[in-house]
């Protein structure tokens, strides 16, 4: 099976991964090399008698279903790129791009996050 440029770009979009244009040809070559290699499993007759593989112990010991405080050395505000009032701040999923996908107009209140006039949520 051969993977082309379009397929690599489709998968990159599914994986939420930006791929720089100069990188695409090399990725096409390497993904084909890897997928051709793993495709040798196609030639393996599957044994009907092999039980399904289960990682881990046969019996799982679950802890008591009780909510307990998590003793964190520092809060999420110190880990996240942006954080306010208990929320992780990100640009809005929406605006022109989402409206274009949906074929509708941009809602009036849907302003881009990088608009300095917008307050934090």
């Amino acid at each position: 099976m051969s993977i082309g440029r379009d397929e690599v770009l489709r998968v990159a979009k599914l994986a939420e991964l930006a791929v720089a244009e100069p990188e695409v040809d090399r990725l096409v070559e390497q993904m084909n090399r890897i997928v051709d290699y793993v495709a040798q499993l196609d030639r393996v007759p599957l044994g009907a008698d092999a039980p399904p593989f289960l990682a881990g112990p046969g019996t799982v010991t679950l802890r008591e279903d009780v909510v307990r405080p998590v003793p964190l050395a520092r809060g999420p505000a110190e880990m996240a790129p942006e954080f306010a009032e208990g929320l992780f701040l990100v640009p809005r999923r929406g605006g022109a791009a989402m409206a274009a996908e949906a074929g509708s107009e941009v809602p009036e209140d849907d302003v881009p996050m990088d608009d300095p006039s917008e307050e934090a949520p």
């Binding site: 994986a15 196609d42 679950l62 050395a73």
Partner: protein, 471 residues
């Protein structure tokens, strides 16, 4: 470790600091994060614990390096990646808490292939690690920083992580001991996930006993990881005096015609040592083991593609705003710039094999072959107590030798990935040298039979000329 007079812990911390500085100045590039104040604080805490403890602590004053995918609150955890640059965990991994409870100093974070994806520690965003025995060669990977620190004598023991051989392979390349426990023997709480059905935190030591003692300290059920087995914690076994009555299988698929001649010579000499110890050597077959690498390179990237979805610029590390300025563009730009080439490749392969139309052809098929590989082991262990193989098909290769062809790099793990897929305990120990470079021998045991494996390894260690040329 055992039998040594224990100096005051603060002096051990200072000595560890001196050795780390020496390794840094020598360009080993094996330690990513450490500081003398944190080491000193660890020593003070361990000393207070030892003073308050009625019984001797099993790892008193022992400096244990941590692969940089094991979280601790004092030092950053980057997984060798730019996408986690500067990230400091708000909690400690269970293994870190257990090391400390045993009296160890857990304060050094070791370099690694980015997100544990690699076999040479050349895929770290923070530069390649050098093999202490030959700086032009790789230390193996992905736990190459941990292995190099132990092999260079900087720390007596270290933790790495295995997904498909990432402790046994660098142990072999660096001439030390690396022990992968059964899947579920050690808690994964606080290990940054790569392939969740495969990942195992695993210790390195300079001797079988050192590695066994560290494994014993970190093993046991953890309520925070429901995949840990509810068995009593492992006890480090004494080495067997001899191997009479022990049946050891040599799987013929692990001795291909093109096996490196130096590796073959060291392996055959080690088999002679096992015979001399009284072991019965039995020819066995694991017919599906040669399919382990292609199987692994479907399952592990698929699990990685899902696990690494969390690194998106929202909750951790640096953020890049993409050209469209919205959140999807943020995800793509952050991940595109933050992940290195090997991680991007594996995320793409993992996403591809899981995507509509390909799931049955790749992922589902790989899961069935995985079951066949595990079944081969189960049948073999009906006839033998342990299996013995070379750990790697060659000794440590030169830096840059395999970076252009990902598949040739993947094949460095051809003898270690089968046990990973089957979830079995397995270990590498030095069995000789070939042109000055270490050769490792691998013991594989049935599920949860680490004690049997370690006791036999201790017997072999006593008699095998581990630092001598085999031909």
């Amino acid at each position: 470790m055992s039998g040594e007079t224990v100096a005051p812990f603060t002096e051990l911390a200072r000595e560890t600091g001196r050795r780390l500085r020496g390794a840094d100045e020598a360009g080993l590039n094996a330690a990513l994060h450490w500081s003398q104040p944190v080491l000193d604080a660890e020593a003070a805490r361990a000393e207070a614990l030892a003073a308050a403890s009625a019984a001797p602590l099993p790892l008193a004053g022992l400096a244990v390096a941590l692969k940089d995918n094991i979280v601790s609150v004092e030092e950053p955890t980057t997984c060798g990646s730019r996408i986690l640059e500067g990230y400091v965990s708000p909690y400690d991994a269970t293994v870190v808490a257990r090391l400390r409870a045993a009296g160890a100093l857990a304060a050094v974070k070791a370099n690694m292939d980015e997100f544990a994806m690699g076999s040479s520690t050349e895929h770290s965003a923070y530069g390649r690690v050098r093999n202490p025995l030959d700086p032009d060669r790789v230390p193996g990977g992905s736990s190459g920083g941990s292995a190099a620190l132990v092999a260079a004598g900087v720390v007596p023991a270290a933790l790495g992580s295995e997904t498909g051989g990432s402790v046994r392979q660098p142990a072999s390349f660096c001439g030390i001991v690396g022990v992968k426990p059964s899947y579920g023997r050690v808690s994964r709480w606080g290990l940054v996930a790569f392939g969740s059905s495969l990942d195992c935190i695993s210790p390195f030591g300079r001797t079988v006993e050192d590695a066994a003692r560290v494994l014993a300290a970190i093993s046991g059920h953890d309520p925070l990881d429901s995949t840990t087995v509810d068995l009593p914690p492992l006890q480090a076994p004494a080495p067997l005096a001899d191997l009479r009555g022990v049946r050891i299988g040599l799987p013929r698929e692990y001795l291909p015609a093109d096996l490196d001649a130096g590796v073959r010579a060291a392996f055959e000499r080690a088999v002679g040592c096992l015979r001399a110890l009284g072991a019965e050597i039995v020819d066995v077959s694991l017919p599906h083991s040669p399919l382990a690498v292609p199987t692994y390179y479907i399952i592990a990237p698929a699990e990685a593609a899902a696990n690494l979805a969390r690194f998106d610029g929202v909750r951790y590390g640096p953020r890049r705003i993409g050209p469209e300025g919205d959140v999807r563009s943020l995800y793509r730009a952050t991940r595109g710039e933050g992940f290195g080439p090997e991680v991007r490749r594996r995320i793409l392969v993992g996403t591809y094999v899981l995507s509509a139309g390909y799931y049955d052809a790749y992922y589902k098929k790989a899961q069935r072959v995985r079951a066949m590989i595990a079944e081969d082991f189960r049948r073999a262990f009906e006839r033998v107590d342990l299996l013995f193989t070379p750990t790697t098909p060659t000794t440590a290769f030169r830096a840059g030798e395999k970076t252009e062809d990902p598949v040739s790099m993947y094949l460095a793990d051809i003898f270690v990935s089968p046990a990973s897929l089957a979830g079995l305990p397995a270990m590498s120990q030095p069995i000789g040298r070939s042109e000055g470079l270490p050769v490792g021998g691998q013991l594989i045991a049935p599920m949860y039979q680490e004690a049997r494996m370690l006791a036999a390894a201790g017997a072999l260690e006593r008699v095998v000329p581990a630092t001598e040329e085999a031909r």
